[in-house]
Symmetry: D4
Subunit: 252 residues, 8 copies
Amino acid sequence: MNEESLKKLFKEVREGGCSVSEAIRQLKHWPAESIDIACIDHHRSLRTGLPEVVYGEDKSAAQIIAIMKKMMAKSCLALATRVSHEKALTVCREVGGLTYHETARMLAGNEDKVEEAGYRGTILVLSAGTSDMPVAEEAYLTARYLGNPVEKLYDVGVAGIHRLLGYKQMLDEATVLVVVAGMEGALPSVVGGLVDKPVIAVPTSVGYGSAFGGITALLGMLNSCAPGVAVVNIDNGFGAGCMAATINRKNE
Amino acid sequence: MNEESLKKLFKEVREGGCSVSEAIRQLKHWPAESIDIACIDHHRSLRTGLPEVVYGEDKSAAQIIAIMKKMMAKSCLALATRVSHEKALTVCREVGGLTYHETARMLAGNEDKVEEAGYRGTILVLSAGTSDMPVAEEAYLTARYLGNPVEKLYDVGVAGIHRLLGYKQMLDEATVLVVVAGMEGALPSVVGGLVDKPVIAVPTSVGYGSAFGGITALLGMLNSCAPGVAVVNIDNGFGAGCMAATINRKNE
Amino acid sequence: MNEESLKKLFKEVREGGCSVSEAIRQLKHWPAESIDIACIDHHRSLRTGLPEVVYGEDKSAAQIIAIMKKMMAKSCLALATRVSHEKALTVCREVGGLTYHETARMLAGNEDKVEEAGYRGTILVLSAGTSDMPVAEEAYLTARYLGNPVEKLYDVGVAGIHRLLGYKQMLDEATVLVVVAGMEGALPSVVGGLVDKPVIAVPTSVGYGSAFGGITALLGMLNSCAPGVAVVNIDNGFGAGCMAATINRKNE
Amino acid sequence: MNEESLKKLFKEVREGGCSVSEAIRQLKHWPAESIDIACIDHHRSLRTGLPEVVYGEDKSAAQIIAIMKKMMAKSCLALATRVSHEKALTVCREVGGLTYHETARMLAGNEDKVEEAGYRGTILVLSAGTSDMPVAEEAYLTARYLGNPVEKLYDVGVAGIHRLLGYKQMLDEATVLVVVAGMEGALPSVVGGLVDKPVIAVPTSVGYGSAFGGITALLGMLNSCAPGVAVVNIDNGFGAGCMAATINRKNE
Amino acid sequence: MNEESLKKLFKEVREGGCSVSEAIRQLKHWPAESIDIACIDHHRSLRTGLPEVVYGEDKSAAQIIAIMKKMMAKSCLALATRVSHEKALTVCREVGGLTYHETARMLAGNEDKVEEAGYRGTILVLSAGTSDMPVAEEAYLTARYLGNPVEKLYDVGVAGIHRLLGYKQMLDEATVLVVVAGMEGALPSVVGGLVDKPVIAVPTSVGYGSAFGGITALLGMLNSCAPGVAVVNIDNGFGAGCMAATINRKNE
Amino acid sequence: MNEESLKKLFKEVREGGCSVSEAIRQLKHWPAESIDIACIDHHRSLRTGLPEVVYGEDKSAAQIIAIMKKMMAKSCLALATRVSHEKALTVCREVGGLTYHETARMLAGNEDKVEEAGYRGTILVLSAGTSDMPVAEEAYLTARYLGNPVEKLYDVGVAGIHRLLGYKQMLDEATVLVVVAGMEGALPSVVGGLVDKPVIAVPTSVGYGSAFGGITALLGMLNSCAPGVAVVNIDNGFGAGCMAATINRKNE
Amino acid sequence: MNEESLKKLFKEVREGGCSVSEAIRQLKHWPAESIDIACIDHHRSLRTGLPEVVYGEDKSAAQIIAIMKKMMAKSCLALATRVSHEKALTVCREVGGLTYHETARMLAGNEDKVEEAGYRGTILVLSAGTSDMPVAEEAYLTARYLGNPVEKLYDVGVAGIHRLLGYKQMLDEATVLVVVAGMEGALPSVVGGLVDKPVIAVPTSVGYGSAFGGITALLGMLNSCAPGVAVVNIDNGFGAGCMAATINRKNE
Amino acid sequence: MNEESLKKLFKEVREGGCSVSEAIRQLKHWPAESIDIACIDHHRSLRTGLPEVVYGEDKSAAQIIAIMKKMMAKSCLALATRVSHEKALTVCREVGGLTYHETARMLAGNEDKVEEAGYRGTILVLSAGTSDMPVAEEAYLTARYLGNPVEKLYDVGVAGIHRLLGYKQMLDEATVLVVVAGMEGALPSVVGGLVDKPVIAVPTSVGYGSAFGGITALLGMLNSCAPGVAVVNIDNGFGAGCMAATINRKNE
């Protein structure tokens, strides 16, 4: 029950077309109206520049095709994450107008529908090693498709700290930093100590043995000795991109 | 070596008071000048409203007294976190002008030195249960001492979801939300689904048995089904307050 | 040795057809008669509406075929869980009259033999996301095949809490609720706070990274801040369905 | 906003004392009325026989005294769990009319206010060893204070299986069984194989070394080979008692 | 250097055929003589009836073929464990006279070379479920090939405790019991409570979700409330068979 | 119902003093007779030399006093494990004739009641370091009080392997070996490679950091590369002593 | 900016070809010159005998081919680790002059470019079992390609301790020892107790069940009772080889 | 039996003062002479500069007094680690001539007996934070008492990376580096990337929440992206000092 239908109900009550007890009965399950609210939420999402996103990992090519077709038809931006090369080939054969970002494993359609959000500045995505690139790219593209200017700085891990220090100015100029690292996950601590901007740390499953599929990097980041660092799930480039975009959004 | 001393060196070289090889020798260990840089960093910290903070857990009352006295003398805001009731009593007897926040276990001095930072809006701190209050209060006070307007909304856990929904407007009006919860740590997911602002999730060690001292809450928050949620260490109210302040800082 | 054979033995003793010492010898291994008792148990199981169920995960198609044929011949309900699509195809080619529930990965035969048990009310199965559907469907079908009326309500996870609140009436009308969720597993807490009926929580292995194959959801559910919630093993839709049916069974 | 105030609003609208737009404004924050709803919930709780319960572990004697006094004054049943012997002494000195159950570590007041709920049958609480008694007693008393007939059968662990088998009839006559065990936590599996009633398994922190404070028992119970078993948190006798009472409640 | 060569050395010293310093030089690396001792060890192994055993898991069919050929030629018993069906086919094509035990995944050659060891009695191998059979069979065959009389009793898990009780006599007559179980691993506790013989518990990786590949069963067995139970590694049927044989060996 | 009462029942049936249906009624709850069986079990325990043992860790001095007095009165051996120095003092003041073994933390009374069991040989208890002595002594005394000849060999850890090798003969002469070690727990592997007797490995909680209270030693022992090694719980010297005694028991 | 360009800048300042402020501007981003420094680092690496090494696990054959070609062209030693047999075949077909070490899974080119570093002595690589050989060989080859004399001693695990003791002299003559072991990982403790040289312990993922993919061996090594032992990651033969080479390097 | 006594034995044999069989009898238990060998080892230890060290954690003041007195009497260096302030006071009252290092919690006597070993260069001990100092000091003093020149550089953690870079020269001049850090344990990676010397990483238990008592730092160090880093147990400053001394020892 939205504002319109509510107004109508009250008018009927006032005009005697609806009894008080009937009106109460109709309002009794207003929480059930939450489906409406969910819809409103949905619209608000689109309004704030957050596109619908398909999580492709668990879905078959057929399922992705069905959803992407529907989204393309709505002529809003259509995104799918964690789509393997093989699935992507199948999907692109069936659905026209899609771009496949191989490293990030993302599919995008209606890219011209991305509107520049009211943003505060530039998001900078850093990665420690080349193996962290798929996750870094997912964060990069997510933030970009959410309408933000995004820069990237890859392969600046702590074992060669001079590489990072060489880009001090770039660090200083960003509004939000997304720092992606696997293995010991030390990069966010170092970056967090160099800047006074929010740092979103993304552990990756890069490593072997006691890297434990990203647990070591995750724990390292949670225990960062630099304040101003917060962490998302292992390999969650998409979540980091969303968080960065949310932070970078200009309050109206 | 800062800009001034660098300028002086170059002048001496130009004027012949210093040979080229001598100048190179002096610059060779510029990285060794990082002590200077650390100082500059330190000043920058103060400039941006981030006060020096003493981590009181591992320190004796005597050590805290010594540091607080020095900080009070510098007449900038003096903060100490994780100071037990007993230690606080001892410290307050020795150092005048301190406020002890018992729930948050924080000591503060020179509180009049807090300058309102250039902030973007209001930070809102939520907690799931009354047992989470010490951590929530640490986040609350940290953000406030960093010069931000902060509101709080405690005991709105998910087992009585109506309590939270009653404050929808308050959620909508915040710029950043800090959500503190122990046990299953589900509150940030629910909050993250209601707002389009950055949510900083803080797991607490509240619970018993398989709560594992906060691990369960931590894992729950890292796997939040709501995007736009990032997590700090267990019981790290201070870190959450810093992160929130960093996000809420206005770019000049 | 069941009641009948026991009666016969006593009669023989009374009538002198069996000496006392021989009778004692025959009874000496009554515990060994537990095979009989197991049979009686087995009959009791059928009587209470609990069909024999084949756990298909570890079994080859050939093994499943052999067992299902035997069960079909006994003309009681025949069920097999965790049967992959591929195995199901093979089994169905060899055994007639089977239904394959693809999402739930269950095979059922002699479906007309399901008798409505004496039940107390309706079981409601909820799931947080679409990826949790295989487990939710296993619970749904298990409860249904055990002779219960079952309703379902899928994709009502906590990140869009209004979706759930819209179905408050449906929640109120159920006798038992099975709540299936992966990732942070927060849904049972929210549901448990809305109803005064027993809630059976089922964690799923849905998620990635620190979801740890369902451990995070499991821990979250065990630490639910709502009382009246109990938990089964990860992905154990079958167990949840059995537990729900056992609770929903009418006494006497 | 409850039914009464809603009726009043509608009447005012009908009678012109309140404009339609004003009525909409008042209803706009109905979710904010959830505080009312929480109260209603609270009353419903009392109505269904679930008393308010104080979790005493984290609270000081002073805090418990304050809350218990308030609850005693409301002349409804007053319960507090996890109250140590020492705290209980202090509380009982200050608050009259309390009973302290030492083994269960529970405090109860206004015990005459317990009303027999509409129950389906008898709840049976079993424990494996004498060390599990505190948790078993907490479950026993919780269920009893929630208005149920409860029986107990302690020290019937699996290492002497004959002890349990001797009480087969008692097992058969219960409507719900709460099975409490530490160490390897095997008892619920054995009990679950003997009865066709719901079994609520409660792992305890009894044991040492690789018992890991109850994790081993918890895992054992979650992996029970008997269907119809669901599990609560380690040492959570209170939760098990609530779950049992919820199951044993008669549908009206 | 064994007793003989040592005697010879001393004689040469006495008779002047070897200088003292030369004798010391020869004895200096006596630890280096450990290679000899290793050989003696090896012979002793054969003498005590413990055949050489190939761990097949990590080895290619080609490697197994090479080793088995060499062992067959030595005309002593040749055993290989953890040989997959596919590898076994290849090996059997190349090496004549081998028996492949499919369930146990063991290959055996020169089976007529097994000599009955001096044994104390019968070893009994029990398993909880049919899925535990591969591990149980590995234990069974290992003990049998080490020259022991072995009985088996499978599928007597605790969820149907009467099945086990029916075989009380069989339990009583064994000298050593090997008890194999997955999931919650409760069987050894029950068996350990029924007999006064050593019980070797073998956890299996049977189960799913929080069975954690056998960890739950392992922990359950280590925390058995019955004394006289000791545990081997997950799925280590071979180790259990060896341990049982070592215990069952008659002292001369 | 034992053999005597059974014979009486049958006689009554034959002689008409008891109807067949009454006889069946009386036998119906034979499993309930398991209390008798438990008693028989209890006597059998005493007969086989296994004394009643009090687990003192969780019990108060008062509780231990009560039990020990009762056991002393029955004039059979009275044992209590894990009794702290302080508790022991209190107990010994109240109960006469007790010996307190301080290192093993065991109390023993009626020591003259220990009967030499029919044993097969000597049990040897080894420990890696001096810190492992409490556990080693618990195993040593348990085995001795169960009527076995026991030898000990302490502080022969693997970091000084020559110490162990010097006692090769002692190792060879034992019938069963109990090997106690903390930290990396490597000693059982080395011992297991030197002897052809059953080795019972006991991990201890000795160590710090990643020793994890004995988990590292436990895991090391479970993964021993020497066959013929089985493991008990961390610090479970009592269990190891029982297992060793059970193995060392002579079959009659 | 290296020494040369720095000298040039100073000269220009002195000669007036560059203003002081311009010079300061050029030096302002000297940290940004770290790219240069990285290059210098790179050269220093080559100078000290540490070749560039490709981590092949995550890379495709195509990627490895591209990098190896570039490295071969620079005519310095070219190494790639963790290259599967299949990938190696593809790479060798495309890039001439490569050697593939199958057990160590390493590819090497321009092997004649290895220069004997200034080394202190011989590195000795030991392994416990034959299954540890891939890791041991990776350490062996890494150290050799870094210009060190290396010996190996494989299959000398602790279950047959005499095998190791037979090579005491070889142990004594090494300068650094790399000890590779899986399962319980006990070998480094024994070796560390026999020598007074640095021991680098390498846990391997060899084992099953509670070996947990090398965690057990890792923990065992970290808790070694022998001082002078340090540990690298599971299966990290390359890291151990580097560490050994770094230790064995002669200070000039 | 050492070389001297062996020579004597041979002479007696030659001269007839000892029969061959008697000589063999004496040598038969040469492995039993390992006690002698342990002594020789002991002497060798002293010769190489490694003093006897008492691990004080588990020992009472009385035990430490007894051992220290004996060691002082032997007039060699006497060391005890992990001695609390309180115990140290007691010990120093009883044993003269001891120095107590409070931060490192070490006791030392006969300090003038430390002989400068033949060392290769200077050992540098770094620590990340002030809380890591106890562990760093233990490493520092251990290495110094083993006769090495040692430097220290504390509080140079990665969150203020400039502090470390300022001491590049100091890093370059060390022969071995011991790097001590808690929390995320990132410092060894950064240091390992700056130097070409062996780095011994020491995780500390500094931190809270998901620092897990040093596990996070330990895992971070094991997964260092810099080669040439090896790790010791959590808080094991003593082990790190020994390892550093062993590496720094000059080969004769």
